[in-house]
């Protein structure tokens, strides 16, 4: 197990350096002189311009600039935001819990509904449920997040008034951030109604962000189950006289989980992209919205830094998936 982990971790190193090259080159490949952009609309004198170029190190060779950048990253220096003048890492981690909370609920929503739906569709292949569920999944998968979010807001917040329109909690409630997770902080605060209000704020964003992963997980679970249900060991389990829920829920599902877990890992990575749109629709104060704002205001250090951090998170999720493979099916660890 240890060897397995070390070999997978070793794979992360070159990937990490690949990402740093992309992040480093990105502002240098874009149109527009970053120094002039920094200077703002009033412009700078030629002397001041030279001074700034020197200050940012743009007058040095590209390779030196890159090494300097990576050295800073390794020391935890992800640059300083032009807009807030805060270290990128600081801004990131003050906003990240909001995104993490939303992503957690979204992926949990997708898993809790997607896996059972996929199982039932596979077991009752060709049934009305199967056809309906897969039809809905296809629609969900094809739904533009932006439009889907607005539609839900119009119907459930606007017309029916069941859910709040935006934000993470009603302004009535005020308490200090302890964990950064609104639901947990609301519980800790002990204020009456705060927790359920936080949950109510989560419902629509969770559905919007979770819809695509839900569709993908349901379809993947169905096809993986269909394949596994025809395997000899499932017939063995039936021949043992085991109840169907054990044959399907334990013997078949455990084997079908490998591709499903892969899908969940990939979807968790893609969640960041969905989060940007979802957070924008619901004014959710997470990194998605922050990143979008940074791009439009050309806050390059933020874009670069968050690109690297998000890439690291995605790599860690995939490492976790690799470890899960071995736990689900011990045969894979030995072959891997």
């Amino acid at each position: 197990m240890l060897r397995f982990l070390v070999s997978r971790l070793a794979l992360i190193v070159p990937t990490f350096f690949g990402i740093t090259v992309v992040a480093f080159l990105f502002p240098r490949l874009l149109r527009g002189d970053p120094v002039l952009l920094l200077a703002g609309e009033r412009g700078v004198t030629p002397e001041r311009y030279e001074q700034l170029v020197h200050q940012f190190g743009f007058d040095r060779p590209l390779v030196i600039q890159y090494l300097d950048y990576v050295w800073g990253l390794l020391g935890g220096d992800f640059g300083t935001s032009i807009a807030t003048k805060n270290p990128v890492l600081y801004d990131f981690f003050s906003l990240f819990p909001a995104t993490l909370e939303l992503s957690f609920f979204a992926i949990a929503f997708a898993i809790i509904i997607g896996i059972p739906a996929g199982i039932i569709a596979a077991v009752r292949r060709g049934s009305l449920f199967d056809q309906a569920a897969m039809g809905v999944a296809l629609v969900g998968y094809s739904m533009p997040i932006f439009w889907w979010g607005l539609l839900l807001v119009v119907v459930f917040s606007g017309m029916l008034g069941w859910t709040p329109i935006d934000g993470r909690i009603n302004v009535r409630y005020f308490f200090d951030s302890v964990t950064g997770f609104m639901t947990i902080d609301a519980l800790i605060s002990g204020q009456r109604g705060a927790f359920s209000d936080a949950v109510r704020h989560l419902i629509l964003p969770t559905i919007v962000l979770g819809t695509i992963p839900l569709a993908v997980i349901a379809r993947q679970t169905r096809s993986a189950m269909l394949e596994v249900l025809g395997e000899d060991y499932v017939r063995t389990a039936r021949a043992k006289g085991l109840p169907p829920r054990r044959v399907i829920g334990i013997h078949a599902l455990r084997n079908a989980l490998i591709p499903v877990v892969t899908t969940i890992g990939l979807q968790t990575g893609l969640l960041m992209g969905g989060a940007i749109l979802t957070e924008h629709v619901f004014s959710w104060p997470g990194i998605g919205k922050w990143l979008l704002d940074s791009i439009s205001s050309r806050d390059y250090p933020v874009v670069q830094g968050s690109l690297i951090i998000i890439a690291l998170i995605v790599m860690l999720v995939n490492l976790l998936v690799d470890v899960l493979y071995g736990l689900i099916n011990p045969g894979i660890r030995h072959r891997g």
Binding site: K240, G241, L242, P244, R246, P330
Partner: protein, 281 residues
């Protein structure tokens, strides 16, 4: 009363090309302590018949029979729940591909313990002890540590032994062995057959061995059913079958044994249903 009595069993599969008759009015009878061999080439419906009796065929199959009686109980009239109390306990089955028949995600011990848990209601500790005993009974060396092995850590022969341990866990009255040695090395084949016969004699089980191997038939069976394209060609005691086969198909099958080969070509079995005056399915 016979242990298992099957009368006029017919199995039809729905296919895209219309209904396909896999089994056309077959009858079997197995007594206590008797070994019945069912012989036939691939596609002759040997396994389908056993899966039909166990209720393990997919929903695309239609099973009809005048009766399928196990110890006098009608298997086809049972609810799935009633049937599940019999299969795995009183009727157990082992399969052709031992590696693929064990679940790769669970230890061998766990898979044996499951049967003990569901059919015998045994507690955790008792199950563990019993699973190790069973592995010992099928002559697996170091059964305690083997019970913690996963199927991929064992050889094909060991996996088949583990399957047998699982099958005999509840002291079944009838053991169905579907091509139990086909996927194994020749040396292992003999050991597994000997083990099956030893257990059958010790436990007094009825046993059905499905095979296409006349050598296996000769070594194991009391009685033989020869099956071809879903029909029964011949039924005889093993001595009579080898000495004076009645059906031309059986004669062809015996003539096709590799040891009867002449020159550099192996003998082949032709289409014998037509020769019998019955149209091929």
């Amino acid at each position: 009363m016979a242990l298992l009595e099957v009368d006029n069993l017919t199995v039809t599969f729905k296919t895209a090309a219309g209904p396909f008759v896999a089994l056309d009015g077959i009858s079997y009878r197995v007594d206590h302590r008797e070994v019945l061999a069912i012989v036939g080439e691939s596609g002759s419906g040997k396994s389908v018949a056993m899966l039909a009796i166990m209720g393990l065929l997919p929903s695309s199959a239609t099973v009809r029979a005048d009766r399928v009686l196990f110890e006098g109980h009608d298997m086809l009239a049972m609810t799935p729940r009633q049937r599940r109390q019999i299969i795995g306990k009183d009727i157990a089955m082992i399969f052709q591909e031992p590696m693929a028949s064990l679940n790769p995600c669970f230890t061998v011990g766990y898979q044996i313990e499951e049967v003990l848990r569901y059919h015998m209601g045994m507690g955790r500790r008792a199950r563990r002890t019993r699973a190790i005993e069973l592995l010992d009974e099928v002559h697996i060396a170091d059964p305690a540590s083997r019970s913690r092995s996963f199927p991929h850590q064992m050889s094909g022969g060991q996996c088949q032994r583990a399957m047998i341990a699982m099958a005999i866990a509840c002291r079944p009255k009838l053991l169905i062995a579907d091509e139990p040695t086909t996927a194994l090395d020749v040396t292992i084949q003999k050991q597994i057959l000997e083990l099956l016969l030893q257990l059958q004699a010790e436990e007094g089980m009825g046993m059905i061995i499905i095979t296409h191997d006349m050598g296996v038939v000769a070594e194991t069976a009391d009685r033989v059913v020869v099956q071809y394209k879903g029909r029964k060609m011949e039924e005889a005691s093993v001595l009579n079958l080898f000495e004076s086969p009645r059906s031309p198909y059986t004669r062809g099958l015996l003539a096709a044994l590799p040891e009867n080969a002449t020159g550099d070509r192996l003998p082949v079995v032709g289409d014998f249903v037509a020769a019998d005056g019955v149209a091929p399915a």
